[in-house]
């Protein structure tokens, strides 16, 4: 049997087993080149309980299966780097073991088994940057990103509040007819979730156990370097003098207001606006408080 026929036989078997879950691309002379399949853990078809997945890409060299295929794992979801590295090592072993024989189904089976064993996301929650522990309640979005329910609830409560505040500023005809729509913090896809339920969740366990912050010696040295650069640039007139610039701004703003009084719809960067919005930094006892009040006035 030729290489071509042997590969054809293997692929037909794969298609019979996996049906739509596999895609095969052929080159211009009709030889299979690339086999792709997205693999999920076995959860008795309960899609809701599949927390991880990865796409397997197998490139078939001309002499396959007498030489090893080139295997890549793409679009991992819920899997951290060490899990992926582990998978690659297992894949390599399997390819060595099956040299000369069909290996693609073996690879799919191997990956599926691994995913099933660790069907708990090993990545971090993108909101709190801590992992998922046994007992944490978390959400897998339709786009396969993971958040502690506690963290996602906080995100949704604040973004919907911001959204509504912005809407209230708009004239009625400009407001969004759909109202607030939740989006994934990672990829901005629309997501469906029930905030009232999410917010009943306890804070993540890792978060509770995390260590405290300490100023290290290394940090002290970095702080000193920063200070030296600041002093040097200041001596050369390179540091922005907020007060002087604000005074200039005040003059410009005043003359603008005289000539364009009808432009009251958008106050722009006027000083009165700057002052009224300084409440943003209330409660923050910081020597730079005055600087920060400036940000909020610009859109």
């Amino acid at each position: 049997m030729s290489h071509h026929e042997r590969v054809q036989e293997e692929l037909e078997a794969l298609e019979a087993i996996l049906m739509d879950d596999i895609s095969i691309s052929y080159n211009e002379i009709g030889c299979a080149e690339l086999v792709k399949s997205t693999i999920f853990p076995s959860t008795a078809n309960e899609v809701e309980k599949q927390y991880v997945c990865v796409t397997l890409e197998v490139k078939l060299p001309e002499n396959y299966p007498d030489c090893k295929p080139v295997v890549k794992l793409k679009s991992p979801r819920g899997l951290d780097d060490s899990t992926i590295d582990h998978l690659y090592r297992e894949i390599n072993k399997k390819c060595d073991e099956f040299l000369g024989q069909p290996v693609i189904f073996e690879l799919i089976d191997l990956i599926r088994e691994n995913l099933t064993e660790s069907n708990l996301p090993t990545c971090q929650c993108a909101v709190c940057l801590y992992g998922f522990s046994e007992g944490d309640s978390f959400t897998k979005t339709q786009c396969f990103h993971y958040f502690h329910n506690y963290c996602l609830a906080n995100h949704l409560i604040i973004t919907s509040k911001h959204f509504n505040e912005e809407q209230d500023k708009l004239p009625a005809w400009k407001r969004s007819p759909e109202g607030f729509r939740a989006t994934c913090p990672v990829c901005r896809e629309l997501i469906n979730c029930d905030v009232d339920e999410l917010k009943t969740a306890m804070p993540p366990k890792d978060l509770e156990n995390a260590q405290k912050f300490e100023v290290t010696h290394e940090l002290k040295l970095l702080q000193q370097e920063m200070q030296q650069l600041f002093n040097y640039q200041k001596s050369r007139g390179g540091i922005i003098d907020i007060e002087a610039e604000e005074n200039k701004l005040l003059l410009i703003t005043n003359s603008n207001e005289d000539s364009a009084a009808d432009n009251s719809g958008d106050p722009g960067t006027s000083l009165s606006n700057t002052i009224s919005s300084s409440s943003v930094s209330d409660g923050v006892q910081n020597r730079n408080q005055r600087h920060y009040s400036n940000y909020s006035s610009h859109r």
Partner: protein, 151 residues
């Protein structure tokens, strides 16, 4: 002052352990929400060779709200005004809690490589950038040389 959220601690530790090339961010002695930042001017940009000081502040509800960031070193750029304020969507309505201090600073560094005079914050700079780009770039280089050098 309330305890520092764990996420801020984690970000700070990672900034120390795995610093981003061309960017350093160090928390202040007296306020761990206030960061002293240095961004190096990107290669092949008019800001090449410059070390730009910025300040970054994490508000009370960070990471639900964006950090406040401002240039401290003078810079000639159409999207940065005379007060050092930066026009960048992810610092405003496109903020997401999945962004971090490091990604924000990388975006600011990228803004130095790709000035956008069509969405100006510093009107006079943007105007010159549009009508006479080579002169604007000359100015940016001159400001970098004059204000943003290290000893």
């Amino acid at each position: 002052m309330a305890a520092l959220p764990r996420r801020i601690i984690k970000e700070t530790q990672r900034l120390m352990q795995e610093p981003v090339p061309g960017i350093s961010a160090v928390p202040d002695d007296s306020n761990a929400r206030y960061f002293h930042v240095i961004v190096t001017g990107p290669e092949d940009s008019p800001f090449e060779g410059g070390l730009f000081k910025l300040e970054l502040f994490l508000p009370e509800d960070y990471p639900m709200s964006a950090p406040k960031v401002r240039f401290i070193t003078k810079i000639y750029h159409p999207n940065i005004d005379r007060l050092g304020r930066i026009c960048l969507d992810i610092l405003k309505d496109k903020w997401s809690p999945a962004l971090q201090i490091r990604t924000v600073l990388l975006s600011i560094q990228a803004l130095l490589s790709a000035p956008n005079p069509d969405d100006p914050l510093a009107n006079d700079v943007a105007e010159l950038w549009k009508v006479n780009e080579s002169e604007a770039i000359r100015n940016a280089k001159e400001w970098t040389r004059r204000y943003a050098m290290d000893n």
